[in-house]
């Protein structure tokens, strides 16, 4: 490849060992954060950190995928790969947020939902599906931030919301570039090439209307986390101001419409099919 592979550079930055994880963001943005645990059914999944905090005096519910930064932490947080109980904890606390009319902030940072025996036994597919369906109808603002890596259904399971932010050097994709390359090119070593065509950068996703706002990082969160975090803080303030006054009917209608319009397909001379717009 002669020209620089911008997408692959972003993949490397998104996975940079010095890049802050969700716990750092929470500490910086929400000094009064109090963590809440457990799905009330099976366990507390530490791949997802969740709890309560105030932001500009507004109580909020925070749900975040946490990768951990050193080996010990990474093992504790299962490299940010949640099990079904993690998604169930997340949705339990989001429903609680709806009850108390608290806006929700979801921070995405995961290579994907964990593929393992226990995860399958406890219904990984069901847990993700349930979150997607439930989040679309929660009567409280949901703000989503892709911090570093948004991997597949494991990211989307806490990623349905009214406003989606993405850090400049984060990625969000259907699968890791390695996984994609191994499926499409039968060679995971072609990950860099895969990244270049997958459209996984913040700019690509903005062009597809999958996300709403890109947060600039200047030199990168791994060098200077404060710049990015301060920009996010400003943007979050603006978006909350816009979303909080909306009636829940309007909020949910907009949210539905946002996802309803996603996708690119051909419609060949629609003939006699009935109108199917919602009322």
């Amino acid at each position: 490849m002669s020209e620089t592979n911008v997408a692959w550079e972003k993949v490397k930055l998104a996975r940079h060992p010095k890049r802050p994880t969700a716990s750092y963001l929470i500490k910086e943005l929400f000094p009064d954060f109090i963590e809440l645990h457990g799905d009330r059914g099976f366990a507390d999944d530490e791949a997802i950190t969740a709890g309560l905090a105030t932001f500009n005096g507004i109580p909020m519910t925070i749900v975040a995928e946490e990768k951990g930064r050193n080996t010990e932490e990474k093992i504790k947080h299962n490299f940010g790969m949640p099990h079904p109980e993690g998604y169930r904890k997340a949705i339990r606390l989001m429903k609680q947020a709806e009850k108390f009319k608290r806006p929700i902030l979801c921070i995405i940072d995961t290579p994907g939902a964990y593929p393992g025996i226990g995860a399958e036994e406890r219904g990984q597919a069901q847990a993700i599906a349930y979150n997607l369906k439930t989040m679309i109808g929660l009567k409280t603002p949901i703000i989503v931030l892709v911090l570093s890596e948004g991997g597949s259904g494991g990211a989307l399971a806490i990623g349905v919301g009214d406003h989606i932010f993405m850090f400049e050097n984060s990625i969000y994709a259907i699968l890791s570039p390695e996984g994609f390359a191994s499926i499409i090119y039968k060679d995971s070593a072609k990950a860099d090439y895969a990244a270049s065509i997958m459209k996984l950068t913040a700019e690509d996703l903005k062009a597809f209307n999958v996300i709403d706002t890109i947060i600039k990082e200047q030199e990168g969160l791994h060098v200077n986390p404060d710049y990015g975090i301060q920009s996010f803080k400003t943007e979050l303030t603006k978006v909350l101001k816009k979303l909080i006054p909306l009636s829940s009917t309007k909020l949910l209608k907009n949210r539905y419409q946002k996802y309803r319009e996603m996708g690119v397909y051909i419609e060949k001379g629609a003939a006699n099919e009935p109108e199917t717009t919602e009322d």
Partner: protein, 293 residues
């Protein structure tokens, strides 16, 4: 060099003429292709017509062969009752992926469908329903923008017409060739089901072989009643990916219909021959009173 080559060529011709010829000296027996099918599970050779008459189920071990959407439609719903909807929606190539158009073309030839999802109205013992069937012959029944749009329109149509909805899934998951847009179809289809639900309508999801990935993790798992057809592999991650991640052998029967039933992920496992009967019974339990609309 030239001498060497021509010498070799002569020798090869000699070999073909004199030596190899001798071995082809038999009367070929005429066996038409595809008369017998080998069972994936027990290995038995099954006469194709026997298999067809037996709903594509192995007569020896009850293994359910994969079934295309058109066949399943005629097997499950009232003869001639199916009317197709949304066939005008077709895939484009938003990522400009090399080879994607060819794959779509192949899928069309192989399945006889425009896309991996066949849907419309049909009746089951005269009960009107909306039905959708994923076809694994079309790019492994994967969900891209077109499939996602068709599923969503079907759900919205059912919501508007207040009709029960039955979807048969057979899918490897989200369609890689459309990247993030395929992923978003999981949210879109699940969103439509939320509003369908609020109208108090019935959705029966039937997971057939295989139902995995983004389809399993969206509309296929969201039925009021989730059915697994016998002989189905059902799960989020594929067995190969799990094996690579955990680096151990997977337990016997992992991710089968029986496994899903034992772990509480599906309501019931149904034999293909009982599918129509079971669906009819379930639809009857949910029949709306006249004037209930």
């Amino acid at each position: 060099m030239n001498d060497f080559l021509s010498d070799r060529k002569k020798k090869l011709e000699n070999f073909k003429k004199n030596i190899r010829k001798k071995h082809v000296n038999y009367d070929p027996i005429d066996i038409p292709d595809g008369l017998f099918v080998k069972c994936d599970q027990c290995g038995a050779a099954i006469y194709e017509k026997t298999l067809e008459a037996n709903h594509s189920i192995c007569p020896y071990c009850e293994y359910h062969f994969r079934m295309n959407a058109t066949k399943r439609m005629s097997l499950t719903f009232d003869q001639g009752s199916f009317e197709e909807l949304f066939s005008e929606i077709q895939s484009s190539n938003p990522l400009n992926m090399e080879g994607y158009e060819d794959k779509i073309e192949k899928g069309r030839k192989f399945s006889g469908l425009n896309e991996a999802f066949l849907c419309g109205t049909a009746s089951l013992v005269n009960i009107p329903t909306l039905v959708g069937i994923l076809d694994s012959n079309f790019m492994m029944g994967s969900m891209g923008s077109a499939v996602g749009e068709k599923v969503t329109r079907l759900i919205e149509y059912a919501t508007k017409e207040k009709l029960p909805l039955i979807i048969f899934s057979a899918s490897g998951g989200a369609r890689m060739q459309e990247g993030i847009l395929s992923l978003m179809q999981m949210a879109k289809t699940s969103a439509a089901l939320e509003y369908f639900d609020q109208k108090g309508l019935l959705y029966i999801s039937v997971m057939t072989n295989p139902t995995t990935g983004g389809v399993a993790a969206s509309f296929a798992s969201l039925g009021d009643i989730n059915i697994a057809e016998k002989s189905s592999l059902i799960g989020f991650a594929g067995p190969r990916v799990i094996k690579q991640t955990i680096r151990q052998e997977l337990p016997e029967g992992f991710q089968t219909d029986a496994f899903q039933l034992a772990h509480g992920q599906v309501d019931l496992v149904v034999h293909r021959k009982d599918m129509r009967k079971t669906l009819y019974k379930l639809l009857q339990f949910h029949q709306r009173k006249t004037g209930d609309k």
